[in-house]
Amino acid sequence: MKASTLGTICLTVAAGLMSTSAIADTSDKRIALSNNYAGNSWRQAMLTSWEKVGGSAVSDGTVAAADAFTTAENQVTEQAAQIQNLILQGYDAIVINAASPEGLNGAVKEACDAGVVVVSFDGIVTEPCAYRIAVDFKNMGKVQVEYLAGRIDGGDLLEIRGLAGVFVDDEISAGIHEGVAENAQFKIQGSVHGDWAQDVAQKAVAGILPSLPEIKAVVTQGGDGYGAAQAFKAAGRPTPIIVMGNRHDELTWWKEQKDANGYETMSVSIAPGVSTLAFWVAQQVLDGKEVPQDLSVPFLTITQDTLEVSLSNTQAGGVANVEYSLDDAKAVISGN
């Protein structure tokens, strides 16, 4: 107790003596979250995580405030106005999940010019003065094929894609195809669009199955694994290795299969808790730490061993989540 008090005094004195010191204090700094949309379970989980981690950081005295703001309509002009309001409210850092990668650049520039730290994640902004925590969707596709290469000798694959025309769908698919190109023992026999929804995926897979040879594995984009499994079952075909996407129904099905016949697979997606990673990155920047402008989010991968823990932590109808700690953020920062 005494030692820690002494330490605090030393820190305060040090911070007072050299304002350029790396051990700046962030306890009087205020961080805001500018969010463009809250209409699905992923975004809701993202906001809950922010509240949880931000709230405890405030009560610990790490930062003075961690408030979340969501625009009522998912519109660029509205979010730009929101960011300008946050500047006026005197926040020291603004964490953004952006409605558009380009449309907010004017407001972001205003923030930077006013000395506000801007950290964007998930929906990132391109303005150079902002920090970006990007998702490497391409790699998310590639790790699936790499996992399969470690599991089986090769064979025919079925690819379930997301919503046609969306950037994320193109990226994940490009990653899957890159992985297949590097592992020539695999061949993609068919590709369907599952729109990241179980019912759509089930219909699409049921439609293409009769025309396919025996499928060894199904590569997916998340939100479609359970539907694929149901389609294989309904067609009376052996269940292939289906890569899952961290959804509750997918993990539940996987758990049932694991208990019944030792079924093995993996599951990968982005945790909504990435908002908390952005929070800590903003805190680190305010703390005077050297942080690269471009960071990348680690995926949340669930393996055979971590399935039970992840499943018990996931709400019914939700997505597996993880909240990042300060140490996680430091690891991500130094890893780049």
Binding site: L88, S100, A107
Partner: protein, 312 residues
């Protein structure tokens, strides 16, 4: 006292008073806004809204309603961020073509006697379609001169205030103080008598729609100057904002009864209402409702004034 506060004077004063009340509340909630820097940030996004509201006002003036304005401004923003940036000549041509298209739309509405709501609603999909063709994914860049203009930092008075005053005065003098303006407004208020006096209603409609197109283009350019890039949906909200701003500023749905200064003030009031609610730390789920409540409040006040007007 009674003589000064005639219903007519009250009607004119209402937009000004609402703006003053809102501004006062914002200054109280967030003293930081009471500075050059603060006013600049608070008001700069109101400039394109003010231009859009003026555009809508021209349409309201001839007793029509434009439901395609937001989509049209998105389109002009896309053209500004792409063609006007890469090949200025082509960009200027395209923007002039946009204005001409608005004039043709006015002619079509007049000649075929079509309801403007139907025509403009239909055209909104055309504008959005062209915008998506020009700029399939968000992007583009603002031409330097527009960016420089919109981020201008003149001494003493912030740029958005100067811009708003200039817009309001120019349109006020043109529409409210000139002979041509009187004819244009008259065509909205009482088309029969204007026609009988020998004026071509077709020309009036085309003129008003072209003016709306011109201000739509200016709004799109101003928006790109602020955001530095565009996307095909960037200004969809402006359709309703411009109608609400025009009405809030003293315009009415009956044609002829408009006020350019009021429209600019109405647009600024709407833009500030968003900031005010955000400074109040109101739950975002309630914000749209609260914005509507502010609108209803102002309109209810106006109704009270009109009631008094009728009684006297």
């Amino acid at each position: 006292m009674q003589r000064f506060l005639t219903p007519n004077a009250l009607r004119t004063l209402l937009p000004v008073l609402s703006l003053a009340a809102l501004l006062g509340a914002i200054f109280y909630l967030q003293p930081r806004t009471m500075s050059y820097f603060g006013l600049n940030l608070l008001l700069n996004l109101a400039v394109p809204i003010a231009l859009a509201t003026i555009a809508q006002m021209f349409i309201l003036c001839v007793n029509d309603l434009d439901l395609s304005l937001g989509a049209f401004i998105s389109l002009t923003a896309c053209i500004t961020a792409t063609w006007l940036f890469d090949t200025p000549f082509l960009g200027i041509l395209a923007l002039l073509a946009c204005i001409a298209a608005y004039g043709v739309m006015g002619a079509l509405i007049h000649l075929r006697n079509l309801p403007s709501i139907v025509v403009t609603l239909g055209m909104s999909f055309v504008w959005t379609g062209i915008a998506v063709l020009i700029l399939p994914t968000p992007g583009g860049s603002a031409p330097d001169w527009i960016r420089t203009l919109m981020t201008l930092k003149p001494a003493f008075v912030p740029f958005p205030i100067i811009a708003s005053v200039v817009i309001a005065l120019v349109v006020h003098i043109g529409l409210m103080r000139s002979a041509t303006g009187a004819v244009l407004r008259g065509a909205g208020g009482n088309p029969k008598s204007v026609e009988r006096a020998g004026w071509s209603l077709l020309r009036v409609k085309v003129t008003m729609f072209s003016l709306a197109g011109l201000f739509g283009v200016l709004s799109g350019m101003a928006l790109v100057g602020l955001t530095t890039s565009a996307d095909a949906n960037i200004a969809l909200r402006y359709t309703l904002l411009s109608i609400a701003g025009g009405i809030l500023g003293g315009g009415e749905f009956v044609g002829g009864r408009v006020s350019p200064i009021g429209a600019v003030i109405g647009a600024i009031t709407l833009a500030l209402a968003g900031s005010f609610l955000s400074f109040l730390r109101l739950n975002p789920d309630w914000q749209i409702g609260a914005q509507g409540a502010i609108l209803i409040l102002v309109l209810a006040l106006r109704l009270l004034i009109s009631a008094r007007e009728n009684r006297s």
